[in-house]
Symmetry: C2
Subunit: 116 residues, 2 copies
DNA sequence: TCCATCGTACGAGGGTCACCGTAGTACGAC
DNA sequence: GTCGTACTACGGTGACCCTCGTACGATGGA
């Protein structure tokens, strides 16, 4: 079995029924957070916070991950000193079918359109 | 032909290439604006600003319509004293396929889920 | 035990946002 | 020209958001 360490540190997550569309859209409307979500989507496995090399400080990174978690977009849990992050694909697909995929595709298209 | 009055009053709209995903998501993340977009989508024809009965003052309503226009979500033009509003369905569908439909469907589902 | 790593909590600054009230402009009807 | 309707521009206010620096806690390994 997978041993989950992290001790008594518990993270609050909204239940599916408490996830609000406005909150999800607001969470995705920030460039940093959208970037995190895109990387999580393409990774297909949990990624630690330190995996991401965002052009902001650690405290700002913590803030963005908290917004994503509290809006219901990602799920977070501890393993040792690391905090792992995963998209809540199933919950989002049940609440807002096609929304996450459309946003991810749009982000990919926009990156191709604007990127070098 | 349809005579468009409104004279010298010209409204700035972003070209499709200038529409940014973050801006669109931010515009849709506000309850008032999401409500406007849903009503425009179900109307299937232009609606004047005064058609909407939002629980805010007129100046705030003007602000929200301006955000929607400048983010590229709606198109506005004058006809007489009225200012008409229409969704930029084609432009959005070309840039972000499926995004608008997914958001509209999600908004409908959420209203049914939370509503009376 | 001591340390390095990883992430958090807190406070603060600077900017943006949503909202309002008032004053004003553009248009059509008379 | 005058009036009413529709909307705008402007200024202001309080709240929120993104960002940071610093100090702190929690974990695992030497």
């Amino acid at each position: 079995m997978t041993r989950e360490t992290g001790g008594g540190r518990v993270l609050e997550h909204p239940e599916p029924a408490a996830i609000r569309l406005e909150g999800v859209l607001h969470a995705l409307a920030d460039p940093m957070r959208l970037r995190v979500v895109c990387e999580l989507a393409s990774a297909e496995s949990e990624l630690s916070c330190s995996y991401f090399d965002l052009p902001v400080t650690k405290s700002t990174t913590t803030h963005h991950f908290r917004v994503l978690r509290e809006s219901g977009v990602i799920r977070q849990f501890y393993r040792g000193t690391a905090k792992l992050n995963a998209l809540r694909r199933d919950d989002l697909a049940a609440l807002f079918p096609g929304l996450l995929d459309a946003v991810l595709e749009a982000a990919g298209k926009e990156e191709a359109r604007l990127g070098v």
